[in-house]
């Protein structure tokens, strides 16, 4: 069953689906604050092929979350444009699934009901999605916790539920903002394996913000390194490791070489004082 899933994964990945390609064109963002204007993003252009898994790494406060918000249509860019598939993003982009650093589960809903919140908010018929929700929970080893409340779950379990909630409506685009940032190292590894399992199968375009170079290399097709604020793209590193990638891939020299390149471009930009 699992092997099967992983096999199809490789196939899905080769498919280039123009329906969910993301084109970011000369996007800038300036915030007006009491202390003056803050330029968060400076003319960033980036093209993601449909089905591509792209990680974004960069120093804290450089504008990563802002860029993700702009892609999601939740934040209006000061200049530039975002196009997903053939749609210009001019407001909340509804065909996306979003995962934040905090799981943002509703404490009054069980794990299953939290996953289905996505469906209810979209006004879709809940009953058509229950079995799919249970399947998703099973895929992240939470089938037995479907009826537990968030407070009965560990941090890692809660974030898995949040991932299921982002996937239940089968969005062609998945946007993740440091989704594992609050988890311990061991849980991070487990959950990133789960994530690659879920994503590999579906050919989603994924934008994944992380501080972990290992995570970025493990999961991505490409890694974008951003400069300190205002964010510009410093490096665009392809990760041509074969898929499916199990956790052991992290011990290979190829993996080490790519991680090394990412780290080098990150450290090259340490502010000198």
């Amino acid at each position: 069953m699992l092997m099967n899933a992983v096999q199809t994964a490789a196939g899905a990945r080769d498919r280039i689906d123009p329906g969910n390609a993301i084109i970011i064109e000369r996007v800038s963002k300036t915030f007006e604050t009491r202390g003056g204007t803050v330029k968060a993003i400076d003319e960033v252009s980036l093209a993601l092929r449909g089905g591509e898994f792209v990680s974004i790494v960069g120093p804290s406060g450089c504008g990563k979350s802002t860029l993700l918000g702009i892609v999601a249509g939740l934040t209006r860019p000061s200049a530039g444009s975002v196009t997903i598939g053939s749609t210009a993003v001019n407001g909340p982009y509804e065909r996306a699934g979003i995962v934040f650093q905090k799981d943002l589960l509703m404490e009054w809903r069980t794990a299953l009901d939290n996953v289905l919140l996505q469906i209810e908010l979209r006004g879709l018929a809940r009953k058509h999605y229950v079995s799919r929700a249970l399947d998703l929970l099973a895929k992240v080893s939470l089938r037995d916790f479907a009826n537990k409340y968030p407070r009965e779950l560990s941090g890692g379990m809660r974030q898995r539920v949040a991932i299921c909630r982002a996937l239940i409506h089968d969005p062609p685009v998945l946007l993740m903002d440091e989704p594992f940032g609050a988890l311990d190292a061991l849980t991070r590894d487990e959950i990133s394996v789960d994530l690659s399992k879920v994503c590999d199968e579906t050919g989603k375009t994924v934008v994944f913000i992380t501080h972990s170079i290992a995570e970025a290399v493990h999961l991505s097709d490409r890694i974008i390194v951003m400069s300190p604020r205002p964010a510009t793209i410093l490096a665009d590193i392809a990760v041509d490791l074969p898929r499916p990638r199990r956790i052991e891939v992290r011990d290979t020299p190829e993996f080490g070489a790519i991680a090394q390149r990412v780290r080098a471009s990150l450290t090259a930009l340490q502010p000198r004082r």
């Binding site: 909340p92 996306a96 934040f100 919140l117 209810e120 908010l121 979209r122 006004g123």
Partner: protein, 256 residues
């Protein structure tokens, strides 16, 4: 079961303790009857006029529940507007704070002039006092929602109304119940206060006329009923709270 005992037992002990101290004050210390009537004489007056007490309690109950409901129905939407708009908040905040700073006793006569001597001005009085804690707690509740939760909700394209029912309202409930518990006890005070100043029924009126007639037994009886009503209403709200927000931190001890 244990939770129940845990809730009621301390209250019961306190009540029994007060009763005992009262009994001792009247018998052992020999405080004169016209200052502190004995428990028996209060019981006597209660059991002699049960209908009269019941009827007046009902009046007060009606007024305070009306006021409570009015306060909640006004405060919750207002809190929602405040949480949506910083600008709106800046406009209404001074008005709300000033209305709160004015002594309610001073407003009461005005309400009488405007609305006469029936139950309505008492309902308004109760609402006026219950309104503020309700507004503050509901505003805190609505504002306490994580911005990212709202981002998540917006990304689904859900209408504001649906987001309200599925996310905003339930998120705000724990904070709101703090306000509800304050509001219900404040509403009791408001209704009694209104009855003090005018009218011909209700527990406040009973106290007023008993005081005029130096009937401390009657006065004590009314006071006891008022405290019982307050306590019962408080626990009623708490009961609903337990049922409704069993999932919240503050409730976990009771659930497990």
């Amino acid at each position: 079961m244990r939770a129940l005992a845990g809730n009621w037992l301390p209250s019961l002990i306190v009540f029994l303790g007060i009763g005992l101290a009262w009994q001792l004050a009247t018998t052992v210390l020999g405080v004169p009857k016209y200052l502190i009537p004995s428990p028996e004489s209060v019981w006597a007056v209660l059991s002699k006029h049960p209908q009269m007490f019941a009827a007046n309690t009902l009046v007060t109950l009606r007024e305070l529940l009306g006021g409570f409901a009015l306060a909640v129905l006004l405060a919750v939407p207002l809190a929602l507007f405040i949480s949506y708009s910083r600008l709106f908040e800046r406009f209404v905040n001074p008005v709300i704070v000033i209305s709160q700073a004015l002594p309610k006793v001073a407003i009461a006569p005005l309400l009488l002039v405007w609305f006469g001597f029936g139950e309505f001005p008492k309902i308004l009085m109760a609402a006026l006092i219950a309104f503020f804690p309700m507004l503050i707690s509901a505003t805190t509740g609505f504002k306490g929602i994580e911005p990212d939760v709202m981002s998540l909700a917006r990304s689904t394209g859900a209408s504001g109304l649906r987001i309200f029912w599925k996310i905003r309202l339930p998120s705000a409930l724990p904070a709101m119940f703090g306000g509800l518990k304050l509001a219900i006890t404040f509403a009791v005070i408001g209704a009694i206060l209104g009855e003090f100043l005018s009218g011909d029924s209700g527990l406040g009126y009973l106290i007023q006329s008993a005081s005029g007639a130096q009937r401390t037994d009657m006065l004590f009886a009314a006071l006891i009923i008022i405290s019982l009503v307050s306590v019962a209403l408080f626990y009623a709200v708490e009961f609903v709270e337990r049922k409704l927000i069993f999932w919240h931190q503050s409730q976990i001890v009771i659930v497990t």
